[in-house]
Every structure is written in structure tokens, then in C-alpha cells.
Symmetry: D3
Subunit: 243 residues, 6 copies
């Protein structure tokens, strides 16, 4: 089977991670997974939410959104509708949990970092691109905070890297990193978030059409684990460059 863009089933789309995209944010990345482009900014604020004050521990949270015409047909703005949709809520929470999985709150100290992931153009995999890019923006923001002595010397708030990728079964074949047209046709759709050491932070598999069995699940996890490892390498490479 040949994929619409000629990739093999286990191949990622071209991935770019452009650091320092914004002049204002403490960390910022324009990440692209093929035609999916997400602007990830990290904002550092001294202090933590009220329920965490005095704990000596920091906090990391995320908000995801799509520009109205990021997609093929224009969607109404959630600000205009006056409410955030379920999908937006769900993805914002997923990104936040994924990043917090690699944070040592004690090492961060009472500092809050907010990741904004705004999809400028969508072609499938926006949440996984967002997590992958947001990690790099977060790393830059922590570097900035260390430079400003907001994080104490010698502490390492980041325990590991974290990246994410989508996988799915299309016409019976497990595929890595689905484009929108593949995603629409998938029987099963799964988003997998891994740490740099190859363990799982989140596994979210959904049978869009046909329920899946244990063997199919295994094949998808194999693909996703390899994909996340490739993304982790790209993250390390991006962070190794001088900003």
C-alpha cells in the first residue's frame, strides 16, 4: 500500500522545530509535522496558583486552540461562541498532563509556566505536534528562568524529554503520523505520548469504526514508540543548536 504522500507506513512527515519564533515569549517554537503548523509559546510567571502556594513546588499548564481558518472549512471562534468546546478542553488537558510528566516540581520551585499551543494550519496530528513543540518551548523557558535565577542553580526541573505521535489503522494497515485524509479514513486512531526513555505517558486509542484487538493495539504501540523516539532525537537536535 502506498500512502497519499508516498511515505512508508512507519515514516514520519517532514518535521521542523523552529525555536525563538516570538520576541516576547520566554520560549517559543513553530513546529510543523508536514502541513500541520503549531505555534507554541511558553510564558514564565513567578508564583503558582492559589492551591499550590507555600508548597515550594511549581506548576505547568497548557492551552490549545485553533485559528478559525486553520482547517479546510472555517470554524467559529470559541471566543465568539462564548464557550470552549469539548475537543479543545480535552486537548489542552492532554498537553498539560504530558508536559507535567517530565517536570520535577520541587526543582522548578514556585514558578508557573503556561504553554500556549495555537494551531496556525491543521492537517492531522495537531495535538501530537503541539506536545512535541511545546516541550522544546518549555525547555527554552526553563533555560531562560535559570538564566534569570528564577530557578535555583544546580536544579534540573526537566527529568526527561516528552514527544507524541498519532498512529492508526487505515484499510487494515497500521500507519504512523496520520495526515487529515488518513485520519478520516482510520478505523482506529491512537495518540501516544512517550518520554525520552521510551516509556508511556499517555495512550489514547479510539475505535472510530471497528473495535480493535490486542494484536492491532500491539502493532500500533510498536509504530508509535519508534515514532516518538525519532521525534525525541529531533527535539534534542533542535535544542543542541544555539538559539
Amino acid at each position: 500500500m502506498s500512502r497519499i504522500d508516498g511515505r512508508t507506513p512507519e515514516q514520519l512527515r517532514p518535521v521542523t522545530i523552529e525555536r525563538g519564533w516570538s520576541k516576547h515569549a520566554e520560549g517559543s517554537v513553530l513546529v510543523s509535522f508536514g502541513d500541520t503548523k503549531v505555534l507554541c509559546t511558553a510564558s514564565v510567571n513567578e508564583g503558582v496558583p492559589r492551591w499550590r502556594k507555600g508548597s515550594g513546588e511549581g506548576w505547568v499548564t497548557a492551552e490549545y486552540a485553533m485559528l478559525p481558518r486553520a482547517t479546510n472549512t472555517r470554524g467559529d471562534r470559541e471566543s465568539v461562541r462564548g464557550r470552549i468546546g469539548g475537543r479543545t478542553h480535552e486537548i489542552s488537558r492532554l498537553i498539560g498532563r504530558s508536559l507535567r510528566a517530565v517536570i520535577d516540581y520541587k526543582a522548578l520551585g514556585e514558578t508557573t509556566i503556561v504553554l500556549d499551543c495555537d494551531v496556525l494550519q491543521a492537517d492531522g496530528g495537531t495535538r501530537t505536534a503541539a506536545i512535541t513543540g511545546a516541550y522544546v518551548a518549555l525547555a527554552d523557558a526553563i533555560g531562560w528562568a535559570q538564566g534569570k535565577k528564577l530557578v535555583k542553580a544546580g536544579r534540573k526541573p526537566l527529568i526527561d524529554t516528552v514527544s507524541a505521535v498519532s498512529v492508526g489503522i487505515v484499510d487494515g494497515t497500521p500507519l504512523l503520523d496520520l495526515r487529515y485524509e488518513e485520519d478520516v479514513r482510520a478505523d482506529t486512531d491512537m495518540n501516544v505520548v512517550c518520554t525520552g526513555d521510551g516509556r508511556f505517558v499517555e495512550v489514547q486509542g479510539t475505535a472510530e469504526a471497528e473495535p480493535f484487538d490486542r494484536k492491532e493495539l500491539g502493532a500500533l504501540l510498536d509504530l508509535a514508540t519508534a515514532g516518538c523516539a525519532d521525534l525525541a532525537a529531533l527535539q534534542r537536535e533542535a535544542l543542541a543548536a544555539t538559539l
Copy 2:
């Protein structure tokens, strides 16, 4: 290791499925998984949402909510706050997807069934109890619709049963059907939705503290598959009784 309520790791809490709880709804179930109690009602409406009109296909959707004092400390009402929280959105969507996985839309015809899952008392596993109970309410509602000839004779809108259970790793041990106190202490928390034939509809695993590896994931899936099979048997038993 001994669990707080004396169960073995692979044991469900006492489960009850009380059909016909409400005099108004076309299907209604008060389901309990131990101290977790969820009232599930199914409402049948002729017609479908606008985007589905003329397709000859039906629709099934769900809304989940908690009473303010279902939990140990009172939560504000979402109606009073004027907006639905992310967690509520997420679970409502999960229940809807899970039920739709066993629906034959064509056989249902242009009829909509809304499942309302209201948590009267919470002690962990509210979303899995909701899915398990909602399936039975849905089956009763479809039976009602067949009696009223809203569903054409000879058609079977339900392809299979669907049930759900939570699993998690607590102090290194994989456990089935977590109570609230176990859930809070779990390193990994997973909700698994299975059809009656043992395949997966949803697998949602989250590392609450430590990332998990492939072997741990396997152990959790083993537990969940067995638990869902037990729940499917209880559903069949409940539906076999005369209402």
C-alpha cells in the same frame, strides 16, 4: 497486598444494575459499582440532528454530570458557573463514542437517543459505571422503540454489548476497578472500554506519576479485559430479567 475493602487485585466491587428506575425515561438504570452510583436515562426522540437529516441513519449521544455533593467536598454547579468543565466534556464525549461503537446507525433509522448519566454518589470509576449502565438503558430504550415501531421490525440496532472498567497501578500492583482512595494513589490510571466480544473500543491510559512501560500496560489490559467480560455477563443477566 490487601486492598482497603479486602478485594483481590482482579476483583470488581459489588455491581448492581437496577433497570426501570425512572417512570418517564424510555430506558433507565441505576448502576452501582460499590459506592459509586450513577443514574442513566435514555431518551428517544424521533428525528436526528440537522447534519444527519435524510441519511436514514440514527444518532446516539451522551451527557455526563455530577451532582454537587456526589463527592466528598461539594463542587460548584456547572450551571451556576455558566460553563461546563473540561473533565465533564471529556467524559460525555467518551460515553457517547463508546455507545456508538455498538450501534448500527442504519438499523436504528432516523431516531436520536440521548443518554444522561448523572452521578448521584462518587467513589471512583464514575465514567466506567456510566458506560456500563448506559448500555443497559440504551438497550431498554431500543426495545421500547421497537415496541412502538419507531425502529423497523427485524432490524437490530445493537451490534454487541459494551462495558467499561478502570485499572491502575498502585504501589507497583495492577488493580481492577479502583475506588477513589486507590485512584488517588495510582501511578498509572487507565480506563478501558470493551465490546462483548472482548475487543477494545477505547483505551485511555495516563501516567499520573511515573511513566509506564509496555509490560505494565500489558498487565493492565489483561485485568481490564477480564473485568469487562464480567461486566458484560452482568449486563446480559440484567437484561434477561423481565422489566
Copy 3:
């Protein structure tokens, strides 16, 4: 004239008051007036709203809501619509005022008790059942607070009991405790809230069709006063039992 359920005009429906329904709330009652079932929970919080701080006086408030399928046709959730309807507001305020009429704020001290009255099934008289049940939940919550020494020894925050019942004129006959089908056909509809000593806390009479005169008003008040006295006896009996 014979009523649809065979009652005499001055007869209440079967009333049950089930205390201790919830394991979490400090007071909880599942009250039923025939097929009308309302879950009333009382939540005790130390402290009072800001405008009352430092007064040495407590506060009691209430929120009323209906599950979407408590009624014969499903109603939209107020949380989904993003706003609370006028009827809900009106009834929540009525319940709060009714309970506060029997509270000695000084004796309660700076403690707040919130009563949540959620209608699980509706068949007329939901607000009067809510007041009647909420009083019992409130009494249990105050007992709990006294046990926890949140209320000072020797103080009696409850001055009297309070109960409520609906009355109406149907086909020219004044009737007590209307079911939904009677309520719909009533020319005049009145809700009356009485203290245990037989005085009025609230009298809310509305001409649904024909205006009513002084004599009709008198007949309705006679019925309601007797009905409230019966309910007060049932409340005392319920509270006399060991929880």
C-alpha cells in the same frame, strides 16, 4: 369527585423520607411525594460569605435543579445552555428563604450550610417536596456540626420545623398536594410553606386561568395548613429514628 389516584381532596400522596442516603454529605435525604423524588443533601462549610464575616452569624442557602429526564420530555441541561432559567432561580430562592425562617443565625455561628435539592423524578410538587426533605437534611447536618463542636454546646440553631405543600383548585374543587396532571388542569395553584406551629413562611398563589376570590383563597389555606401539619409529623417521625 374522585382524584386520578383515588385520593380524597384533602389527602397527601404517600410520603417517604429516607435519611442518610449519601455517604459524603453531612445530611442527606431522598424524599418522595408519590412519584416525585428529590435528593436533598446538606453540606456544612466553616465560615460564611464575605458580606457576613465577623457578624458571629451563620448562613443557609439552597440550590434546586432537575435532572434532564426527571420530566416526561427531556429538558436541556442548564449547564449546557450556560445559564440558569428563571424557574430554577425562583425555586432555589424560595427553598433558601423557607429554611432560613427556622434558623437562629446566632446559635448557628459562622457556619454555612448549603442545601442541594436535585429532582430525580418529577410528578408535581417538586419545590414543596424539596423544602420538606431539605429541612430534614438540614437538621441532620446541624446534628453533625454539633457532634463536631462546630456549633457551640447548648445552642439550638433550629427554632422550629418547616414543611411545604401545594394546593390548587381543579374543576372547582380545592385539592391538596397536586400531581402533575392535576397541576396542569388547575385554575389556581398555590404553594404554602408553614412552620411547625402552623404559621406561614410563604404563601404563593397564582391564578393560572381564572382569578380567585377571598373565599377560594381561604379554602386553599385551610387545606395547606392541615397538609403542612401532616408533613411536620412525618418529619418529626423520620428524625426520631436512629440514623
Copy 4:
């Protein structure tokens, strides 16, 4: 006992009913009960709400609101808060019900009349002034509609007049038409809406401090019935003048 403004207990404040206040509305009245001033406008729209279409019957509804500085201390705008408060809802519904009590829907035909009652200055009794003024604006709007042939010749959509007044027990004395300072000190507060023939449309009595007994209720109803009759005479007089 002497009242703060020298009135006897059974005396209304000076009442003025200024018709034709607005150049745009089909009916408009600036009504004052002493320092309470309410602008009531009636807007006539062809057609009725969806649920009433094809019935041949009309509809009358009302919205009540207060300007932010109508009261002694400024209140936040409900538009700014993004939600309507319970009190506003309650009063809007009361005004609507009161006016509908004197409407013959069939005679009105499929026409909707919306009454807007905006309190420009408040000194107690805003809802009763609103009902009393809105009736006159409604009568003018119906006259306008008859002139425009929107209401068929020979039909009388108004069955009777309707007026309203507040009564209360202050320091043991029943008083008519309370000013704000009296209202605050009242043990019992009652709003009564009567038709021109002296029957009741609404009786809403609330024990603000002490519960009230049957005899006190009787004294209040006596006062209110006489007060409403006086107001009905003022309404007739206002409507008898040439606009």
C-alpha cells in the same frame, strides 16, 4: 403610629401615570409610586413564538430590569455580569403572568406584545408599580393595534384591568404600599395583584423575619384589595384622557 412620610397605614403614595412617554413604542407609560419611577413600554410584533404558531392566539410577555443607579448604591449591570439574576427573572415572570391574566388570547390573535419595565428610580414597590404601569401601556398598545387593524374589529383582547400593590407588617402594623425604608423593616412582605373586579391574580407573601398567622394575612389582604381598587381607578382615569 405615624409613617415616615406622614401617610396613614392604608394610604397609597402619590401615584402618577404618564402615558405616551416614548415616541417609538406602541404604548408607553412613566409610572411613579412616590419616588419609585418605572418606564413601561409596550412593543407590538406581528406573529407569535414558534410554540404558538397556527393557534390563532396571541402572546404577552414582560421583561423587568433596574438601571444600575436606580438604587441607593450602584449595582453591577446584568449585561456586564453576563447573566440575569434570580430576582430579575422572578419579577419579569410575575409581570408577564399578571398581564396575561387579563388577556383574551383568541381576541388578540397571533400578535405578540412585549412589555419592558425599566426602573429608573427605586424606592420600594418597583414590581407593583411596573405591573400597574405596564397594564396602561398594554392597553394603549392594543388600542394602537386595533387602529392598525392588527386586532380584528369588534374584539376585546382585554378582559379586565390589573393592578398591584405591596403590603407588609412593620412593627406590628399592617401598612399599604411600602417605601424602601419600610420594606427593609417589615416582618412580612406581600405583593398582591388584583383584577379590576377585586379578585386575586397573584398573592405572594413572605415572612422576612417572623412567620405570620391567618389573621395577619387577612389584614394584609384587606389593605391590598382596597389599594388595588384605588389603583384601578387611577388606571381608568389615565386611560380616559386623550393621549
Copy 5:
């Protein structure tokens, strides 16, 4: 060319400024520009918004709104719709900025004055009438605050007067103070806010149909400057009278 009401192009409508309209507000004015009537109330509050605390400086802000039937066809209430429209926001901000232009924050001290401008009847020029009337209400409120020693003796919080007027080009002729029917037909519509010394605080010109050139702009500014000067004289005259 003759205007619909017989005015010359450079003539204001009859303007009235009625001080002391409300018994509650610290300053209040019912201003009319012809049939446009706006009730402006000024509310004085000790203290300032949080972001200004400790600065020793005061704050002045404004809220504009229209009654639903101030216009020829009834508009929905913004409180009912649950959100404030763009036009309302825009005008509220304009009024606030205009008044702040003549305030010496230091002289005012940490006091906040809120101007509420509610349009009771609209016939064009509601925002300019609101600014003109609100200035007078503000002056009265400051006088009140000086009397109460909330503003320190010898300080002059008002630097100058401020007034506003609309101008527009209708059928090629620049006109002052447009009525609604003129406004609708205008090619260009401009609102100009001037201080008493004839300088500009705001110039907001919009080409409703045809873009305008520098010469037309000049003609409009000439008209507006003269109109604002006339209004400033009327403001001084109104304030010179004993309240």
C-alpha cells in the same frame, strides 16, 4: 437645502440639561438633544481598582446602554443575550476616555466615579448627548465629593469642560448634530469631542458610503468645533444654576 426639522446646517437641536434627576446618585442629569434622551448618573466610590491602588490617583469610567425600546424597533436586552455587543463596548470606552481627558487624577485622589449613561429614547447622537450630559453629572458628583471632604480642599479634579457632537455629510452638505433619519442617509459620519478650550479629545470619522477628502473633513471639523462650543456654554449655564 432644508433639514427635516427646519434647522440650518450649523444648528444644534434644542438641548436641555436637567440636573438632579435622581435622588440616589451623587450626580445625575437627564440630557436631551431633540428627541434623544439620555439619563446620566455619576456614582462616587471610595477607593480605586486594584491596579491603581496606592498611586494616590483616582479613576473615572463609564457604561453606556440603551433601553430595549429606546429605538424604533425593539432590540434584545444585552443581559438576556448574556453578552455586550461591540457597539455598546465601543461607546462605553469612548465616553470614559472623553471624561478622563479633563480629569486631574492626582487632584481627585483615590476615588472612583462611574458614569452610567442609559439611553431612554434614541434619535441619533446618543453617544454625543451622553458625553455632554455625563460631564455635568460628573461635575456635580465631584462637587458632592468635595462637600463630603472625599476630595481634599483646594484641589480641582476638573481641568476643563468636555462636550461632544456628531457631524456628517448628507447629500453633499455638511450638517451639525444629525437626527436618526439624517444619520442613516449620511455619506460620512463623524463624532467629535472637544474640551472647553476648543481642542480635540476624540475625532472619529467614518465613511459610511463614499470616502471623504481633506476638504470635507475640514468642513466637518469647523461645524463640530462650533457645535461643541455651544454645548460647552450650555453646560456652564446649567452648572451655574443652583441645584
Copy 6:
């Protein structure tokens, strides 16, 4: 006087207009005025809003928004707050009016074009950059619609070009195209929108500190007119290139 970035008072910042930025939108431009970057997408929809149906005329509207970290300190998302702020409303309306000034509705036919202007990075002049960029996206969308025969052959829906620039008086000197740091220090701030023929569509001048006189206004208009002409040339140049 030397400006912070070395520009002369009458000099624009470097302006880039990058067409075809998005693969989904019918027209899309990433416009930058120095460090201000706005993504403008144009979405073409068949049909017009209800109030315009059957008129044979089209409609153009715009929505403006800022990403949360487009600015130096992170702003809350309007979708999260549940309401759109006054500034956003104001600018969206300004952009829409500006573009409609150069549209021939009849030539466009019953087609709606929505311009989304999302500020990715802000450094002053976001609304003027948005108008300037949105015009180009609009022109491309109209070209697309002509290619798809949605706009009839031979018709020219665009009458002229439209561009916008900010001007202001900083330390007594009139400056063109203010950066954020200049804008903050400006006494007067003006946004001017011109058509390609040099006439005005919008003139919005605000005295931020000191009121301005006629001569200062003249100097600002001179600067703005020249700046808009430069921008018009850049727009023409951008559109002359092959997409």
C-alpha cells in the same frame, strides 16, 4: 529627534506582505509592520447573512484577535474568559468597515467573505497592519471566487485598494507608524484608513494625554496620507507577483 529604531518621523517600518501563507484559505497573507505580525485569512462562503438574502448583494466581515502571548505579558484568552473584550470588538468592526468601503456589493453577488486577522506578534499598529494585510487576502479570495465563477465574469467587486497606518505625537513630534514603545508615550494617537486614491475611510484620533489642536491634527493627517500611499504601493506590488 531620533526614533528608537533610527527611523525618520515620516518613515514606515519594514513592511512585508507574504501571500499564500495558508493552504486552506481562499486568500491568506502574513503581513508584518516591523515586529508586528498578523496572519490574515479570507474565507469565501456562498450565500449571505439572513438579513441580506435575496438582495443580490454580497457581504464582507472581519474578526480580529490576538494570540495570548503576542504581547509582552501574556493575556487571558477571550475564549477562556467566555467573552470578547471591548478592544477586540472595536477593532473587528473597524477592519470590517474599512474593507467594505472598497467593495461593490452588487458586483460581488450573494457571497460572503470573512477576514480573520490573528495577531501572532504585536509591536504597535496591529489594527493597521491587519487592514493592510486583509485587503490583500481579500483581493486573492475574490480572484479565487472569480476563477470558480462564484463572481460573475466581467464584474469588479473591488473598487479601490485600502490601507491603514497609525500616527501619533510623541514628545511634540508627529511620527508615522508607531512601535509599541512610541505608542505608549504618545500624547495623541491616530489611526487613519485611506483608499488608494488618497481619500479617508476612517480617521480615529484620540488624545491619550493632552488634547490636540487643529494644526497638530493637520500634521498627523499629512503623515498618514503619505504613509497610506506607500502601503498602497506595497499592496499593488505584492498583488502583481504571481502567487
